[in-house]
């Protein structure tokens, strides 16, 4: 069982002036294999820090995160990462970007080429293999990023606001794609977002985080992601239950924001 287990993770940043920022405080959770977790919260609540620790880009001040019983210490192939934008290698074509991981492992180029074709088909980029990535639109670029991450067959996929920079229409299409991939591959996914709607739609589990110190404020188990596999996403969005949940969380986040910024008129 390759569960993701977080045990009392603390992260304290020290600025040069000596001020300390408690970015994460006693974060503990367990994520079973195949679960899709979305993390939501106001800016500065430590979402990205948590993800970076899970990816191994940051070392926690105390506590630990284990994946499949092994402590995470540094980046690794078993944890794939999809970034908001700008993480594609623009000097490479779509093919070269997607097969980057396999090339680094020096795998057989013929097998690799076949795999690349399959994955491009899945993410809907068939025939774009030889296009330079800088010529693609934002949505297509994120599809390439997804394919590039998935081709390595990671146990855990970490997504840092992957759809944040896309327009509403593309975003909806990509949300279906994420759900489709989640279903077909059965991967464990942590997705960070600042959109409440997206968190509700995609998250089998949703964590709402609160800032100062960064902590898990509230946890939800939701049915919408499973429904989204069968139903139209737009119908779900108009669902009464969905709307009430959305308003509940939005109010929660607004309250947190007010706590930080002071109440505005």
């Amino acid at each position: 069982m390759s569960n993701l287990v977080s045990q009392k993770v603390n992260m304290i940043f020290k600025s040069l002036k000596g001020e300390t920022v408690h970015a994460l405080k006693d974060i503990s959770f367990t994520l079973k294999k195949g679960e899709l977790l979305t993390v939501l919260g106001p800016s500065g609540c430590g979402k990205t820090t948590l993800l970076n620790i899970a990816a191994g880009f940051l070392r926690p001040t105390s506590g630990s995160i284990n994946l499949g019983g092994k402590e995470i210490n540094g980046p690794g192939v078993e944890r794939g990462m999809v970034f908001q934008q700008g993480a594609l290698f623009e000097w490479l074509t779509v093919n070269e970007n997607v097969n980057f991981g396999l090339r680094m492992k020096k795998e057989d180029p013929i097998k690799t080429a076949k795999k690349v074709e399959e994955w491009l088909d899945i993410v809907g980029l068939k025939g774009f293999g030889n296009t330079p990535t800088y010529q693609l639109s934002g949505g297509m670029q994120q599809r390439v990023a997804l394919a590039r991450c998935l081709i390595n067959d990671p146990d855990l996929i970490l997504m840092d606001e992957p759809l944040g920079a896309l327009d509403a229409l593309t975003r909806e299409k990509m949300q279906s794609l994420v759900l489709k991939i989640w279903k077909e591959t059965g991967k464990t996914i942590i997705l960070i977002t600042h959109s409440v709607e997206e968190a509700l739609l995609l998250g089998e589990r949703v964590y709402v985080m609160a800032p100062r110190p960064g902590r898990i404020h509230k946890e939800y188990n939701l049915p919408f992601a499973s429904r989204g596999l069968k139903e139209d996403l737009r119908e779900i969005k108009n669902d009464k239950e969905f709307v009430s949940k959305r308003e509940e969380i939005l109010t929660m986040i607004w309250d947190m924001e007010e706590e930080i910024m002071g109440k505005e008129i």
Binding site: G56, V77, G86, W91, M104, P132, Y134
Partner: protein, 628 residues
């Protein structure tokens, strides 16, 4: 001929392009809104106007248009200049060039000088009263001596006769000058000129700025008149108005001075008396005449000047219009260009000399500009392979035999190969000034890239490397490269090694800085992505950081090429025996303006070529630049 054609052609091009441009302005849709950047697009016809304008300016200000349309004008202007030169010293006597008669001016000046000196002497506390008295007396006497020169009564008949005679000669010249028969040369004189003309080169030919011997009938007139005027002028200035009355007074004054100076030691008094003596001598040598004595001569000169101006005819118009900001001046028998035509060589001459220099057999200083020579492959092999290869081969080098011969063995044969001492076919290799300069830039730049880029990337990624190498780079980089040149040239020699090393220093620091900026400017998300895709450190450098830094590196190369090129030419100025900068430096010493302009042109073209090549490479290798 060609110049004339080009002149007309460019004028037509300018007019045509301007008309087309004006028509376009009225019809172009984007021109409706001022400030729209689209208004600056296109405009090839204005390029035509701009370059034609440049070419016309060059043709005009180098007097190539004058040379093309009036090839004899420089030679004729030279003869006129000779006349003007021979008249000049005579003219200075009268209010023709100056405001006053020269005699008047001298008398006025020296009277003031005498008064000033008297005041100075009387107020000097260090002088004895007795000396003061003597000095003042001498000065007063000097002042009283001046009327002996200006009083008509004292003027000798001899002097009067000479002045009359010179006036008659001038008037005769004035009378004969416009006549067609003038000058009446003897056969001998005519032959002499004709002989000289055979050897005379054209205007602007190498080593000959303006041909001095008259080539036309009009020129011959002026040439002959100049000779006559020279003789008149010489005779006049040989003459001195030293009449008996003046001589009596001046001898008395000089006597007094001599008496005072006898046995006088160094000191204030000696300085004073020497000054006074100088003043008296100045009056002695000045051509001071009574006020009305030279009136006839003055009139004769004015009359001749008028006639010679008339005789110049259209030459004056040509001089004013086609010789802008300068003219031909004479100095003795030689004529030269004065003004922009001197340092701005004529396009026709420049291209002719450039064509000449491009011939491999001519070149510059016995070295061709750009050519090839056949070089044995053995020499290249010997240069590339290090000699120690033979040393590490097994065995020993052979020892000579008793019969005085040497049997070669494997080791000695190996030595022959690595030192290049064997027979081989020859291949052409480039040579010449341009190639040498190019090769130096290329080698210096390549070395700078090879060493600078890895070090720069390393410094951009590693705290130790940045800290360790930063002081070294930052200490030598801000120093202007040329400031290093004397030192580098002393250490590494005036030939290629020193210059290549200097250029290496220039490009090295630029490459370090650009590669470092490229490495440290890599987006963290790209590095993160590469890490989570399983790339090793080395793979991240090669596959992510290096390509990501390429735009910065290539821009750095572009900057470095410009810097290297500038530094190289200056370094070749300093020392060396080949290279385009060397050519310019030598040309400067011999005032070969054409060659200087040719080197400037070649340097510009090569610099442009470098830049275009790199721009092409940039467009090909990093099409994603600015689109990430």
């Amino acid at each position: 001929m060609i110049t004339g054609f080009i002149t007309f052609f460019t004028i037509f091009a300018v007019v045509g392009a301007i008309l087309y441009g004006r028509k376009l302005i009225k019809t172009e849709k984007t021109d409706a809104v001022f400030g729209n950047p689209e208004r600056a697009k296109g405009g090839m016809h204005w390029v035509v106007v701009g370059s034609s304008f440049l070419l016309l300016s060059w043709l005009y200000y180098s007097w190539d248009i004058a040379k093309s349309f009036y090839p004899k004008s420089a030679n004729e202007l030279c003869q006129v200049a000779k006349v003007n030169e021979s008249l000049l010293s005579l003219k200075y006597l009268f209010p023709i060039v100056e405001r006053q008669h020269k005699s008047t001016a001298i008398i006025k000046r020296e009277n003031i000088n005498i008064e000033d000196k008297i005041i100075l002497i009387q107020n000097d506390p260090n002088l004895k009263d007795q000396d003061k008295k003597i000095f003042v007396n001498i000065l007063r006497d000097t002042k009283l001596m001046i009327p002996s020169l200006t009083d008509e009564r004292y003027l000798e008949d001899d002097i009067k006769n000479i002045i009359n005679e010179l006036t008659i000669r001038l008037n005769l010249l004035t009378e004969n000058f416009p006549k067609n028969s003038y000058p009446n040369l003897t056969e001998e004189e005519e032959n002499e000129i004709n002989e000289g003309l055979k050897k005379q080169l054209g205007w602007g030919a190498t080593g000959m700025e303006v041909p001095p011997l008259p080539e036309s009938k009009r020129g011959l007139k002026f040439h002959a008149a100049a000779a006559e005027l020279n003789s008149i002028s010489d005779e006049f200035f040989e003459m001195r108005n030293h009449n008996p009355e003046y001589l009596r007074q001046s001898e008395a004054i000089f006597g007094e001075i001599k008496e005072y100076m006898d046995g006088l030691g160094d000191g204030l008094e000696l300085d004073y008396i020497k000054d006074i003596k100088k003043l008296v001598r100045r009056i002695e040598y000045a051509s001071i005449f009574p006020p009305r004595t030279l009136d006839e001569l003055e009139n004769a000169i004015r009359a001749f000047d008028k006639v010679q101006n008339n005789e110049q005819g259209n030459l004056r118009t040509i001089d004013i219009i086609l010789f802008p900001a300068g003219t031909i001046v004479a100095s003795g028998p030689q004529c030269s260009e004065a003004g922009p035509g001197r340092w701005l060589p004529k396009p026709s001459d420049t291209f002719r000399i450039f064509g000449e220099m491009l011939k491999p057999s001519v070149g510059y200083k016995m070295i061709p500009m750009l050519w090839y020579e056949m070089m044995g492959v053995n020499r290249i092999v010997g240069f590339i392979l290090p000699d120690w290869i033979a040393d590490i081969m097994p065995g020993k080098y052979p020892v000579h035999n008793q019969d005085g011969t040497v049997d070669p063995n494997f080791k000695s044969r190996m030595l022959d190969i690595v030192t290049g001492e064997f027979e081989a076919f020859k291949i052409p290799v480039p040579t010449g000034h341009i190639w040498d300069s190019f090769l130096r830039v290329f080698l210096g730049l390549s070395l700078g890239i090879i060493f600078g880029v890895p070090l720069g990337l390393f410094m951009g990624l590693n705290r130790f490397a940045k800290g360790f190498f930063d002081p070294m780079v930052e200490l030598y980089r801000p120093v202007p490269p040329l400031a290093w040149a004397p030192l580098i040239i002393t250490v590494f020699g005036i030939d290629n090694v020193g210059k290549v090393f200097l250029l290496f220093m220039v490009s090295f620091s630029i490459m370090i800085i650009s590669a470092r900026a490229g490495a440290s400017g890599t987006q963290l998300s790209k590095i993160h992505a590469a890490h989570s895709l399983g790339a090793s450190r080395w793979q991240i450098i090669r596959e992510v950081i290096f390509p990501n830094s390429l735009p910065e590196i290539l821009t750095g190369i572009r900057v470095a090429v410009g810097m290297c090129w500038g530094t190289l030419v200056a370094a070749e100025f300093l020392a060396g025996t080949t290279g385009i900068g060397f050519v310019e430096n030598v040309a400067r010493k011999y005032m070969q303006y054409e060659v200087i302009w040719i080197t400037i042109f070649v340097m510009g073209m090569l610099g442009l070529l470098f830049d275009l090549t790199i721009r092409k490479i940039i467009d090909k290798t990093i099409p994603w630049r600015g689109k990430g």
